[in-house]
């Protein structure tokens, strides 16, 4: 028997008709039994479950704090109440300083992050694919991640003075290694089976990289990006707090430091809240949906770990 029809031939084999139908019914029965439709929570339900408890807790904490300040009347310069903090916030807003600081910091953090992505991605690719480089440079890069990027601030100030270059330098030193390492570990975690399938399917080196390895490494890369953003934001704040003045624009870190110098605790707390809010917002609006979509498409659940 040597039929060489590659296309699904309309069964030239006898006895296959009835048996085939029978098989079809069996298979679809089994498929129905084995695939349980996942009942996902609706988005409203999800928000209610996930958002409500922490919000309630925060509200409760704020109320308790306000009560404390009203009842115990602590020194307002050491323990301002929520109303004072809100007042500071409003004042900073009205003076336009809040908007300026948020925009400056966000623009700077964003630009720094993008530059870091532009540097970290090819670096990660190089490291993942060039074994010798990896063995030599990999440990150094991991070591750099151990170094608090804030340690670069003094050196950067000497090199670049109090200019934006200092801030960018520090942000890059923080973010580039973690983006590159994220990509490397994403590529490392690509199951070798997938590469082999690609090869067997006849993919060229480039097709293998673009159609198989990179899409497969995406989750690791994304988590590297997320971590890279966290590092960017941290480093930026550190740099802004330490390197203030000169031609460095007025960011949230500068606002924090300035409020401290004016011994204005409620403005300090207000700024901390804003920094926290911006960090959470960026994570919620930029990374979380991307990650959720990516992982859900692959049937993975987003890990709680950061």
């Amino acid at each position: 028997m040597l039929p060489d029809t590659a296309q699904p031939a309309s069964s030239a084999v006898p006895r296959s008709g009835g048996a085939h139908d029978e098989l079809r019914r069996l298979e679809s029965g089994l498929d129905a039994l084995q695939t349980v439709p996942l009942t996902e929570k609706g988005p409203w339900r999800r928000i209610l479950d996930g958002v409500l408890p922490p919000v309630l807790l925060v509200v409760a904490l704020v109320v308790a704090w306000q009560f404390y300040t009203v009842i115990a009347q602590p020194r307002p310069d050491l323990a301002p109440g929520p109303l004072n903090v809100a007042g500071s916030l409003a004042e900073l807003w009205n003076a336009g300083r809040l908007q300026e600081a948020v925009l400056t910091s966000l623009a700077r953090g964003g630009a720094g992050f993008l530059i870091a992505v532009a540097i970290g991605t090819p670096l990660g690719l190089l490291l993942a694919e060039w074994r010798l480089l990896r063995r030599a440079l990999g440990p150094l890069l991991s070591g750099l991640q151990v170094l608090p990027s804030v340690a670069w601030v003094p050196a950067a100030i000497i090199w670049f003075g109090l200019t934006d270059a200092t801030v960018y330098f520090v942000v890059l030193m923080g973010a580039v290694p973690s983006i590159a390492n994220g990509l490397v570990s994403g590529i490392d975690q690509v199951p070798p089976q997938l590469r082999r399938v690609g090869t067997v399917l006849g993919a060229s080196r480039i097709e293998l990289a673009t159609l198989v390895v990179l899409p497969a490494a995406l989750p690791g890369y994304l988590s590297g990006l997320k971590q890279g953003w966290a590092f960017s934001w941290r480093s930026l704040m550190a740099a802004e707090i330490i390197a203030m003045g000169g031609s460095i624009g007025f960011g949230l870190g500068s606002m924090l430091q300035q409020s401290r110098e004016l011994a204005d605790l409620s403005a300090v707390l207000a700024t901390i809240l804003v920094i926290l809010a911006v960090g959470i917002l960026v994570e919620l609006t930029a990374f979380a949906p991307l990650e959720r979509r990516l992982l859900r498409r692959r049937g993975l659940t987003p890990g709680a770990r950061r």
Binding site: T5, V200, G299
Partner: protein, 263 residues
């Protein structure tokens, strides 16, 4: 159905004039210069359209042999010739690309084969229909059951349009009910498309159920220790007495091999 036992190495059993689909000559393999010999002096000829089952205990080198035939590994000695050029492969875990739907997985294989974009979608659907999965084309691998995934993988392997199909324990991870159904499915596809199939398995009954020829490998080093030829009288049930009889015979030899390795 008739069973015949022969002593290794298998003599040429092709009718004169028929070119073999695969020809393996005194193949040897070791990983690294100091590693133990994994495969030793393998000689094997596979006829076009033949369904050959490769049977052996864990670690005897079945996957290594298959990978060498597929061109994923290089032999240390000897030669392997796949007459039609190259082979399609199907692995134990379906190894579908998890970011693509079932349909796109098949389409990717078509794309890499060089099928123009316009024809891909229709051809992918046709292939999925061949494995009774036309309705699941838009689903992602994680939404499919294990059996469905392996059927998609089969469709993808068929999309490569190679004369030779290598299968490395494709149904080992499935439950028994699904596996039995996929045996029927695979046999049907084989009969309809006339592929040459090398099917690696641990499962003696599976080999006896599917193969036209069953080749038993010994372990450490992997050698061909025996082979059985089964006259093809059409599909047979795995519970059939012919299969049972052959399975008993093969099992006893396999156990002999295993016992040899007892410490």
């Amino acid at each position: 159905m008739q069973t015949s036992t022969e002593a290794p190495p298998a003599p040429e059993t092709l009718p004169p004039g028929v070119k073999p689909a695969i020809r393996i000559d005194s193949l040897g393999k070791r990983f690294g210069p100091t590693g133990p010999v994994v495969l030793d002096n393998i000689n094997l000829t596979v006829a076009p359209g033949e369904f050959l089952c490769l049977l052996g205990a864990s670690g005897c080198g079945k996957s290594t042999l298959l990978n060498i035939i597929a061109g994923l590994e290089h032999p240390s000695e000897g030669t392997v010739t796949v007459t039609s050029g190259s082979a399609a492969v199907m692995f134990q875990e379906s190894a579908l690309f998890p970011w693509l739907t079932a349909g796109r997985n098949v389409e990717l294989a078509l794309k890499l084969r060089g099928v123009p974009r316009s024809g891909r979608r229709a051809q992918a659907l046709e292939l999925l229909d061949l494995v009774n999965l036309a309705d699941a084309a838009h689903k992602r691998p994680h939404e499919l059951s294990g059996g469905m995934r392996q059927r998609v993988a089969l469709a993808r392997a068929l999309a490569q349009d190679r004369k030779v199909l290598l299968m490395d324990e494709p149904f080992a991870a499935l439950d028994a009910i699904t596996r039995d159904l996929l045996h029927e499915e695979l046999e049907r596809v084989w009969r309809e498309t006339g592929r040459t199939i090398i099917f690696v398995t641990h499962n003696v009954r599976e080999a006896a159920r599917l193969g036209q020829r069953v080749v038993l490998m010994s372990s450490r080093p992997g050698r061909i220790s025996n082979e059985w030829r089964i006259d093809d009288t059409g599909p047979r049930r795995i519970e059939s007495p012919e299969v049972s009889r052959l399975a008993i015979e093969i099992t006893d030899q396999l156990r002999e091999e295993i016992r040899r390795n007892a410490a």
